[in-house]
Each structure stands twice: as C-alpha cells, then as structure tokens.
Symmetry: C2
Subunit: 210 residues, 2 copies
C-alpha cells in the first residue's frame, strides 16, 4: 500500500504524513458498478482515491438520478469531508465507475492533520475548490445547454475518464445519468451518428470525432 500511496501523493504530502496515512489508512477495493456511499449514509471515514474512478450522483424525489461529477486518482470526496466533520448524512450517492482502489482514513485524523500538516490543509482546500468548480460546471451544463450539447459533453467526459473511445453503456443508462428519457437519448445519439461523429452498436458507442 505504501508504494501505491507514495506514487500518488508523495509530490503533495510530506513523508511524515504519508507514513501516518500508511499507519491508519485502510485499503479498500471496489469493483466497477459497486456502491461506495448511499444517500442518507453516515460517513465515518474519508476516501483517498489511489486508482480508478468514482461517479457522484444526486437523486430526485422520484428516485431518478443525475450525474454530478467524477472523482479520479488523487482526488478525495469533498462531500464526505464535510459530512464527516458535520456528522451529517450523505447528500449524494457514489458508485465505482471503474475498478477502484481507495484508502479510507478515520475522521479523527482528518481534524488532527488539518492542524498539523500544511500540505494536508492545502490538499483539503484544493479538493474543495475542485469540487466546487465541478459543481459549477454541472450547473452550467444543466442551466445553459440543451440536451444535445449535454450529451456530447457526457460522452467526451466518459471517454476521458475511462481512457477509451468505446463507451459500453446502454441508452437507458445514459438517460439516467443525464436525468432524461431513453427515447430522447436514442434520438440524439442517432443524430450524432448520422453526422458521422459516433458509431452506434448494441451496448456500445464508439466515439469517432466529437
């Protein structure tokens, strides 16, 4: 674990902190599609992402979802952070987008390190900043763009996260994450295909040029 830790965090954390993380952190592996946090959960430890990606989702009153953003290698969950400190329930759902490796850190350390390590403080603040920025981008997408543009952004993002221009999703899954209906997604995807920007197949979408 220490090797993996150092590889990802040695450029931002001082050695003493990395040692401490190694001592108290608990390694956790989650498979693609597995749930990491559910809405309403009390969160008692904070995840550091070593490998993979996690998608963060919001839910409406009818149980339908909306993709907020992805967490990647080196990220942490800002929501969790505040939930830990405030002892409040999770407002979001987190699901592994890929096979993912996490280090879980007990919240007591969180508070301790914030006073003790400057690099930790910076990391936490940068995480907040990144998350707020991503939330703003999400708001921009929903408020300022039409569904066809949102779909394109979604596909681009997915390609970036998975590092693969072949996206293995059904239209229904995409519809869930964009909070729209399957028919709308099929319609717009077909339009993109006829423009030669993607190639459609059962359970997969190949990105040609977006």
């Amino acid at each position: 674990m220490l090797d993996n830790l150092k590889e990802n965090f040695s450029h931002i954390f001082e050695d003493a902190l990395i040692d401490e993380i190694g001592q108290v952190g608990v390694l956790k592996e989650v498979k693609e599609g597995e749930k990491v946090i559910e809405i309403g959960d009390y969160v008692r430890s904070m995840p550091l992402l070593l490998k993979g990606a996690i998608k963060i989702l919001r839910e409406d009153d009818d149980g339908d979802e909306l993709l907020l953003y992805f967490l990647e290698r080196g990220d942490t969950c800002a929501m969790t952070l505040t939930c830990c400190l405030g002892q409040t329930k999770s407002e979001i759902r987190a699901i592994a987008e890929l096979d993912t490796t996490l280090i879980m850190i007990p919240i007591q350390k969180m508070e301790e390190w914030t006073g003790k390590y400057k690099s930790w403080r910076n990391f936490v603040f940068q995480s907040y900043h990144a998350r707020l920025t991503e939330m703003l981008e999400t708001i921009d997408s929903i408020a300022f763009y039409n569904m066809d543009e949102r779909l394109v952004k979604y596909l681009q993002n997915k390609k970036k996260i998975t590092n693969d221009s072949l996206i293995n999703s059904t239209h229904q899954e995409i519809a869930y994450e964009l909070h729209t209906s399957r028919v709308v997604v099929s319609r717009l995807l077909k339009k993109l295909e006829s423009m030669g920007k993607i190639e459609l197949n059962r359970n997969s979408i190949k990105i040609i040029a977006l």
Copy 2:
C-alpha cells in the same frame, strides 16, 4: 466594529481570534445593488458578512445570469476562500442584495489561522459544507423542477432573505436570475395571482400564501 464582530461571531470564535480579526480586518459597506466581486477578478481578501445579504450569480456565454445562492449574516464566501488560496480568478459574480456590512480579511491570515485556531477551521469547513449544500439545492431546482416551481422557490427565498413579503422586483429582474425570459415569468406570475397566492403590482409582488 468589535461590538458588531462579537455580536455575530463570539459564539463560534475564541476571543483571541476575534481580537485578531478586529486588528487586521477592514470594514466595508456596500449598498444594495452594488457589485462586490466580478467574474475574472483576483480575490485577495476574504469577506465575513456582518449584516445584510449578498447574491452569488453565475454567467453563461451570452452574458446572461443565473442566481446560485445568497450569503447572509455570519456567512463567508467559499468561492473566495478557494480563489484566495489557489490564486485563481473568481468564477462568480457577487452583488449586494441588501445594504451590507463586511469585514475583509487578508488571505495570509486565512492560512495562518487555519493552523492556529480550531474554531476558525471549523468555521471554514462549515462554510464549505453550507455552500456545497446550497449548490446541490440549486442543481436540484434546475434539474428536477419546472419553471413554475422554481419561481415559487425563488419568491419564498427572496421573502426569507429580505424578511419582507413584499418583493420589489420587476419581472425582467426575476427572469435574469432564473435564466429565463420576462414573458415566461409574467405568465407564471399571473397564474400564481389567479390562484390567489400572490398579488401583482408594478415593480412589486406581494406574497399572500405560497
């Protein structure tokens, strides 16, 4: 200033911190409608809100706006926080919703106090939490609700912030903040009036029962 400070913050900050704030903080008064921060500004100090309210707005490519949330007494601007530390430009616009009193704190202190005062740390984290929560609510509104419901929420919120059931806004102003058109707002307001929930007059909306 110290009196005002103590009145608002003595229950969260230790005395030593309040003294420090009193020493380095600069009092700033802004009139209703006055701009506090513009998109693209570099922010070099962090505001603590003593009195009044500030609205935080996001802008699209066409220069049209969207209301994100309000800051009230005891709040601070999480965006500013991260901007200060990250030395990045402001992503948002801030305009005084009411006559407002602020204390501006130099960013160097920000970093210093985070290591020094536990109460400061808690305050900063709570601010982040509050802002993230408000961003989530904003996302919920835009993504999950129709314009008529968003309008109702807007009016309720406005009433709460100004502590006045008479709202002095034009339909055009409301349209800007909800990122829609004047005609749509007029239409929906008229519907609310015909349901007996509000009373419309030139430049004002009286909330009867929402």
